[in-house]
């Protein structure tokens, strides 16, 4: 009791005092501060262990990172199983762990609908892209998109697409990190953001892809292990009967509903049962389909995910990695669903975790964190807090590496130096870019502290689905695609997805503060329109393209196709 109060006291404020038991009150204000440090140390020590371990790995990885190829792809020597875990570690963010379990706790079934969207892109990526990417590419997805096209324009487009996605994803992670760590560790927001920024710079700067991969693998194991334990403890309490767990959750929700004055028992029962079916998450069919498209096809256009396919030695290993990744991520979303229901029965019923108004101390995103203490005590609470921090580090390291590669490999080496840059100078540019990106991420993280940034991750997915994915897809699979078509269509998708997001309620009303209902674009996600525009643009400007370059582009398709299907000629990509 004392510990929960002390851990969260700065966030929850005086309101918690009302709920404290006699010993806590007897401890008094001063001891509260001392206790706060004592509890923080559990989490901080575990996090420090994680940092020490990952820094040792970085030191080991630094010795192996000698060339640009080592930096971008760990020399292509990661196995399919390792890469699968690393992809899962790259993809399962703290937002999905804390956010989805919170969504399940609040509205039950709607949280499941949301998480399914993040999973269904993986088969599409497997069936249509994974092995072709491996067979055609070397370091970045621009290698694939620009395979048979004029290098400069396509690389400039791909680098723009990469940097826009990375920027929004990174800001969302930084702000999330600052808020979370402020809450879990009792550190100031800016200190938390600086710690994340410095550590991510150290991993990427010295250890490149090797260190990033291992940070992601360790994080994936810790997160999956911790979440499995929580789900196991919840199921154990109900004798491993889902019916018993759901019944208990419905009862809790019914009781909560009936405590509101003027609610009839029938209405309360209906409200309780409502968590077992779809609620208000899907407002209108257009938004539902559009958001589904952003998640499904966006996954196949995220630069930091696509880059991971170049770290394995063959198409076979690329397929194995996506198989493992899909399995782990799917399993993880099943766990978050159980954790969310566990939070209903263990956390919402326990006054220790609630403030005077009956809402969760520290906000709804603390659902999984409170549950960790409820099922595993303070040591496990420290463990889960440390895992949440580690999770953010793994995701931001992958993003930074991807952004740095776009600048050094696509812009510097290919566009500026015409592909003639030597490995040493390319590596130097990657490292300078990493430092720049780290500083920019910290500054933006601090600048956006008080902003409503809920739209940023869905915007990153929308851009990936509307710009990166169509260009990649058409360049690999459509023989008549040309440089001009890919670049114009790609930029149309990029510009329209950003513009329509700004005009949508989540930015226009929630961030810019215009009145509710005034947003010119009424839907949740732009993908249905911007992705269509991207594809239509590529098609139209390709078939209209009669330039000499267009004939070269089309003539290059048969050779590209043979290599993308068989991998013949791709061996040098992995034999660095």
């Amino acid at each position: 009791m004392i510990r929960v109060r002390s851990l969260l006291s700065h966030a929850a404020g005086v309101a918690t005092l009302a709920l404290l038991s006699a010993p806590a009150l007897a401890a008094g204000g001063d001891l509260g501060t001392a206790e706060k440090q004592a509890t923080n140390w559990t989490a901080i020590v575990m996090f420090a262990l994680f940092v020490v371990l990952t820094l040792f790995i970085t030191k080991w990885a630094a010795a192996k990172t000698k060339s640009a190829a080592d930096f971008y792809t760990a020399g292509g020597g990661i196995t399919g199983f390792q890469n699968g875990l690393a992809i899962a570690g790259d993809y399962m963010s703290a937002a999905s762990f804390l956010g989805i379990s919170a969504a399940v706790m609040i509205s039950g079934y709607d949280g499941l609908i949301y998480s399914i969207g993040f999973l269904v892109g993986w088969p599409i990526l497997t069936f249509l892209m994974a092995e072709r990417l491996r067979n055609l590419g070397k370091f970045t997805f621009a290698d694939v998109a620009a395979f048979r096209f004029a290098q400069t324009p396509v690389r400039v487009f791909a680098a723009s697409g990469t940097l826009v996605v990375v920027a929004f994803y990174l800001i969302a992670q930084m702000v999330g990190a600052g808020q979370l760590i402020k809450l879990l560790f009792g550190l100031d927001y800016w200190i938390a953001v600086v710690i994340v920024g410095v550590l991510m710079m150290v991993y990427v700067l010295f250890g490149g892809m090797t260190a990033t991969t291992w940070v992601q693998i360790i994080k994936a194991c810790l997160l999956l292990g911790g979440a499995s334990f929580m789900a196991f403890m919840v199921m154990w309490r109900y004798g491993f009967s889902p019916e018993a767990m759901f019944a208990a959750a419905v009862e809790v929700k019914t009781k909560l509903a009936s405590s509101i004055a003027g609610t009839t028992p029938e209405a309360a029962a209906a409200k309780g049962q409502a968590i077992m079916g779809p609620g208000t998450f899907i407002k209108d069919p257009i938004s539902a389909i559009s958001f589904g498209m952003a998640l499904m096809f966006g996954t196949a256009g995220l630069p930091h995910i696509l880059m991971r396919f170049f770290t394995v030695p063959s198409a076979k290993e690329a397929r194995k990695s996506v198989m493992w990744a899909t399995g782990w991520i799917g399993y993880f979303y099943l766990l978050t669903f159980i954790i969310g229901f566990g939070a209903i029965t263990f956390v919402l019923t326990n006054p220790e975790f609630l403030d005077a108004k009956g809402t969760l101390i520290g906000g709804n995103n603390m659902a999984a964190v409170h549950l960790a203490r409820a099922v595993g005590g303070n040591v496990f609470l420290g463990f889960i807090s440390a895992v949440a921090f580690a999770t953010i580090l793994a995701v931001v390291a992958g993003l930074t590496l991807s952004g740095a590669s776009a600048v050094s490999h696509d812009l510097y080496s290919t566009v500026l130096k015409g592909g003639k840059a030597d490995s040493a100078s390319e590596l130097k540019v990657s490292r300078i870019t990493t430092i720049c990106l780290g500083i920019i991420a910290v500054l933006l993280g601090i600048a956006f502290e008080k902003q409503n940034i809920a739209f940023m991750v869905s915007l990153a997915f929308a851009v990936a689905a509307s710009a990166n994915f169509p260009v990649l897809f058409m360049s690999v699979l459509w023989k008549d695609c040309t440089t001009r078509g890919a670049v114009i269509g790609g930029f149309l998708g990029l510009a329209s997805s950003v513009l329509l997001t700004i005009l949508s309620p989540s930015v226009w009303e929630a961030t810019l503060g215009y009145p509710v209902g005034s947003a010119p674009f009424p839907y949740t996600s732009p993908a249905l329109f911007s992705m269509t525009l991207g594809f239509a643009g590529i098609w139209l400007f390709s078939i209209l393209d009669k330039s000499p370059r267009a004939s070269i582009d089309r003539a290059g398709f048969p050779a590209q196709e043979v290599r993308s299907e068989t991998g013949i000629g791709a061996s040098e990509a992995s034999a660095h």
């Binding site: 999973l119 899909t326 799917g330 000629g569």
Partner: protein, 102 residues
């Protein structure tokens, strides 16, 4: 890659077979995934009560096994593709390589 080698591979009947079989299989599974996911979304958008309907006398609804089913389907369909690609398609690929690179 030299153009002549590419042309030789493109003319190889095993390559033609690999390309057709794999691309048909890949697209088939892609459509299966699209139908399952968008079927689920359309069910939520237009027929919420189907998912909210109780299975038995308890609180369990059809939505739970269907939602979990979509997750399991997603993992299984990926496994099915990877299994076939890593055995049958890769064997064919190796055969083509042996034929054209000898």
């Amino acid at each position: 890659m030299e153009q002549s080698l590419a042309a030789r591979i493109a003319a190889n009947p095993d390559y033609q077979r690999l390309k057709t079989t794999r691309s048909t299989f890949g697209w088939l599974l892609t459509f299966a995934m699209l139908i399952v996911y968008y079927g689920f979304i359309i069910l939520i958008a237009f027929k919420k009560d189907v998912l909210a309907a109780k299975i038995g006398s308890g609180v369990m609804t059809w939505g739970i096994p269907i939602g979990f089913g979509v997750i399991v389907f997603t993992i299984l369909i990926t496994a099915i593709y990877v299994r076939r690609a890593n055995s049958e398609f890769d064997a064919l690929s190796e055969k083509i390589k042996a034929e054209v690179l000898k």
